[in-house]
Structures are given as structure tokens and as C-alpha cells.
């Protein structure tokens, strides 16, 4: 089974702090994604990566950055946390794109509260 793990289930930070959310997958997947999940808004894509050191902005990248130094690890960074970044953050991974597009596998999520 594919396993996607996230470093914390719950996190409480203060406004202005730099926050790191870590995600690790164990299936040698090329593609990794960060979403945030908010009630009534579904999941929105923040950033994704299709290879080591490669990244692309998603739909809501403002206030976030990412790092992918190793294939299995994809980090989301909040440079200066703000209260409107309080949310559930979900990481996902998927195999390389092909004519038969494969599903994304999700981690358990990190519920971040910014005070």
C-alpha cells in the first residue's frame, strides 16, 4: 500500500512564525502535491512538484513556498504565518503521468492553527 505521512496531525503556531510542514511518501512517486482544505471550499491546490527540485504554483500559492530536495519528501513552508492560514493541509503523491492517469494518494492531514 502507498503510504503518505505528514509530520504532525495538529500544530499551533503564532502569527509571524515560520512554519514547516513535512510530507513523505514511500512509493517512489514522481508527483507530489500540497492542498489546503477549508469547509465549503473543498481542497485547493497550493503547490505541486513533478520532480526533485521542480515546483509549480497551484491556485493559491501566496504566502507559501515549497521545497523538494529528495524524491520522497515535499515540504510546505509558511514564511510568516497569518491567521488566515489556519486550515487543514493535505499532502498527496501520484505516479508519473501516463495515458492512464493514476490516482493521487493522500496523507492524513495537518490541522494548523495560527493564533
Amino acid at each position: 500500500d502507498v503510504k503518505v505521512t505528514q509530520s504532525s496531525r495538529y500544530l499551533v503556531k503564532r502569527t509571524g512564525e515560520k512554519v514547516f510542514l513535512e510530507c513523505v511518501q514511500d512509493m517512489d512517486h514522481e508527483n507530489m502535491f500540497w492542498y489546503r482544505q477549508d469547509p465549503g471550499l473543498g481542497l485547493r491546490l497550493i503547490y505541486f512538484s513533478y520532480d526533485v527540485k521542480m515546483k509549480e504554483k497551484g491556485d493559491i500559492p501566496e504566502g507559501y513556498s515549497v521545497s523538494r530536495e529528495k524524491k520522497e519528501r515535499f515540504s510546505l513552508i509558511l514564511e510568516s504565518a497569518s491567521t488566515n492560514q489556519t486550515s487543514m493541509y493535505l499532502c498527496a503523491s501520484s505516479p508519473p503521468y501516463s495515458s492512464s492517469y493514476n490516482e493521487q494518494f493522500f496523507g492524513p492531514g495537518t490541522r494548523l492553527t495560527v493564533l
Binding site: 502535491f33 481542497l43 492512464s100 492517469y101 492524513p108
Partner: protein
């Protein structure tokens, strides 16, 4: 850019009732379509997916969905729901070309009463 609409935000059913959750997408090209489910306190997991071929796809736990291209719809159905189907359901789409990340709908919270 593509978008997904889920018109039912909160659905309450009794056990054994039939279920249909609506999903419409907007995109001019060929798409792949997905339904994901999130049970309380659990990971988001795939329920079913459509890539091509038979527009009626069957997924886990007795769920099925029908892709109607002319209506840009991919509605989820189950003939008889159980209390254990209580969860949040998300429809998602990705185009065959270009950016392959999923675009999700806003979700439908299903509550099944025993």
C-alpha cells in the same frame, strides 16, 4: 482553467434510501474524473474514477457514477445507503493535457441516519 460544482452541500438520508450526489465540471477538453470520500477522522481515499470507455463506472462499497459528456456531469449514486456511508464526498477533475493536478469541488457532507 477547469472548475467543479457540487450543488448538494449537506445531504441527510435514512438508511436504505437511495443516494445521488451531483457533480458538474467546466472544461472544454478531455478529462479524467474522480470521486473521493473522507470518512470522519480518516484520510481522503478514492471511491471511483473515470478515464475513458464505459461511462458507467463502479467503485468500492457499492458506489457507481455515470459520466454524461453532453451534460458535463459525473453524478455519484448508491441504491441503498448505510450508516457507515456517513462522510464527506468530493468530486474532482483533471484534464488529459496540461496541468495534471486535481481540481476539487467544494464537497458534499452526507449524513445517514440509522
Amino acid at each position: 482553467a477547469q472548475s467543479v460544482s457540487q450543488h448538494n452541500h449537506h445531504v441527510i438520508l435514512s438508511e436504505a434510501a437511495s443516494l445521488e450526489l451531483g457533480c458538474n465540471y467546466s472544461y472544454g477538453g478531455t478529462v479524467n474524473l474522480f470521486w473521493y470520500v473522507q470518512y470522519p477522522g480518516q484520510h481522503l481515499q478514492l471511491l471511483l474514477k473515470y478515464f475513458s470507455g464505459d461511462p458507467l463506472v463502479k467503485g468500492i462499497k457499492g458506489f457507481e457514477a455515470e459520466f454524461i459528456k453532453s451534460k458535463f456531469s459525473f453524478n455519484l449514486r448508491k441504491p441503498s445507503v448505510q450508516w457507515s456511508d456517513t462522510a464527506e464526498y468530493f468530486c474532482a477533475v483533471t484534464p488529459h493535457t496540461g496541468r495534471r493536478a486535481l481540481t476539487f469541488g467544494s464537497g458534499t457532507r452526507l449524513q445517514v441516519q440509522p
